[in-house]
Symmetry: C2
Subunit: 306 residues, 2 copies
């Protein structure tokens, strides 16, 4: 039986000012998945570690992309997916995207790579649709491409790799659940033009800062006047984390995806570790269970390891 | 008497999707100005060619920036400004910005350059305030810096030079007047979040396209779903110009500043000249007097020539 083991990484979507258009892949944490090629039609989902995943493949974030891929292929084959989940669902670091991207990259590999990365993102979006009701690509694109990706447009899909200097990422996941669909629902449908102008100045600055390797500009541009003021209310300790981590030397940061995880970018690892200590102190004092990660940007995306 | 002759260039603000934050300087047209250092306080404005400029320096786009500079200097000196206007006021290619930037760059030169470019932009903004009621920097910044500039933020002022590949610019100025203040008034104060997301995807794509020298990405990103649909109504023939120029090979383009001028970017001069012919044919058929320019991006900003 043909099978492959793969590791899809966690991802940070939005990157503060780039709501729905920017994301980056992390080196850690990552899921481990085994994909098996079956000689009869269908998709089977198996959870290896007791995470309560939907068994109906059409309702599963790994299954829905595979169904879409199989429909396009039109061949009498199928896949079994065995998932070892390390990226906790609802953490805000792209858990559903990792399942979707991992399954689709693994399946493509087993078939001899007939599809390009753009196609893989297009299939993986069916997983995001199942998870949150919206086909947003700012997790699946960096998960598949690696590095920092810009999604200029979803329809038609237009993904651009954004080169960047070395960045260290500290993530804290306070153990409360913020559902992506809830975090979307509280957003206003209209925004002030003057706020939108400030936001697109920051997005332009952030992209320029990444490509020009200008850490200072990256830091100045990590400002969100539209989404963060609303969503941060759902995250206990958010303002304190942001203020103290910046004071400790972080370039900046904010809500990872729709939260509750909060991420900070730093120029060097020592700063990223100080930032971790600050995050731990704050959530210990508040009395919230939490996990932290100190990691870097994953430049390759989903890893095929066997 | 100390005096200097300078040539401030025309500029294209907004660059389609970058409302209020992006602008570029043109090689042509440009104004010619003579700035004279006076040993008594005050600012004198002299028009050399009969353009009806406000003589009260506080109400003049060249005078107001000089008054602001003199106040900050606190010395008993003054300036005379003799203006030869070639960039027609109300054309949408930064006529007021050229007067403001030219005066302030010339005055700074006469004083031995005590001020940095950021300061010069800050002073020049007083001219834009006189001209349109709003301190927008997307003309004065490229006029002073040259090239393509990003104004990440106005308060505090944060200007970033955006490197770009060689670009040819075709501009048509249909001879109707669109006042900047009117063009601002018709804009809506609120925009849909989904439109803002599409816009910031394009802005990020445009900045990435410029820095990565990716002409194709530049072309795809030259799309404005917020300002253009409203303002283009003020410009006869706009949709036809855009469609036909793109079909002729232009990367894209749109309203220059608040109009009525329309600009198109092309990869090579031959295309830029074909685009000019198309523009001329359309406005000749409509029966509107018009000027056209085929030029390139001015990389140095205001020129000091004597």
């Amino acid at each position: 039986m043909k099978k492959v083991t793969i590791q899809p990484p966690a991802t940070v979507a939005n990157l503060v000012c780039g709501f729905d258009i920017l994301g980056l892949a992390l080196d850690e944490p990552y899921d481990t998945m085994e994909i098996r090629l079956l000689d009869e039609p269908g998709v089977i989902i198996t959870s290896k570690d007791g995470f309560p995943l939907p068994k109906d493949p059409a309702q599963n974030t790994a299954g829905a992309p595979l169904i879409a891929m199989l429909e396009e292929l039109g061949q009498p084959i199928g896949f079994e997916v065995i998932i070892s989940k390390h990226i906790k669902p609802g953490s805000g670091i792209g858990s559903s995207a990792a399942s979707a991207a991992g399954a689709i990259v693994g399946a493509n590999h087993l078939l001899g790579s007939p599809f390009k990365k753009d196609d893989l993102v297009r299939f993986a979006l069916f997983g995001e649709k199942v998870a949150s009701g919206v086909k947003h690509a700012d997790n699946v694109a960096p998960c598949i491409y690696g590095g920092i990706t810009l999604i200029r447009s979803i329809f038609p899909l237009d993904i651009i790799a954004i080169p960047a200097p070395r960045l260290h990422v500290t993530v804290v996941h306070p153990q409360i659940e913020v559902r992506t669909s809830d975090a979307r629902q509280i957003l206003r449908k209209q925004v002030l033009l003057k706020d939108a102008i400030r936001q697109w100045g920051n997005i332009a600055g952030l992209v320029a800062g990444f490509i020009k390797q200008d850490y200072d500009l990256i830091g100045r541009s990590l400002e969100d006047v539209i989404i963060e003021p609303i969503r941060s209310i759902l995250i206990p300790g958010f303002d304190e984390v942001k203020t103290k981590c910046r004071a400790a030397g972080a370039l900046g940061g904010g809500i990872s995806g729709s939260g509750p995880s909060v991420f900070m970018l730093s120029k060097d690892e020592a700063t990223a570790r100080s930032v971790e200590t600050i995050m731990q102190e704050i959530y210990t004092r508040i009395g919230l269970d939490h996990h932290t990660y100190v990691t870097t940007v994953n430049s390759t995306g989903v890893k095929i390891i066997a």
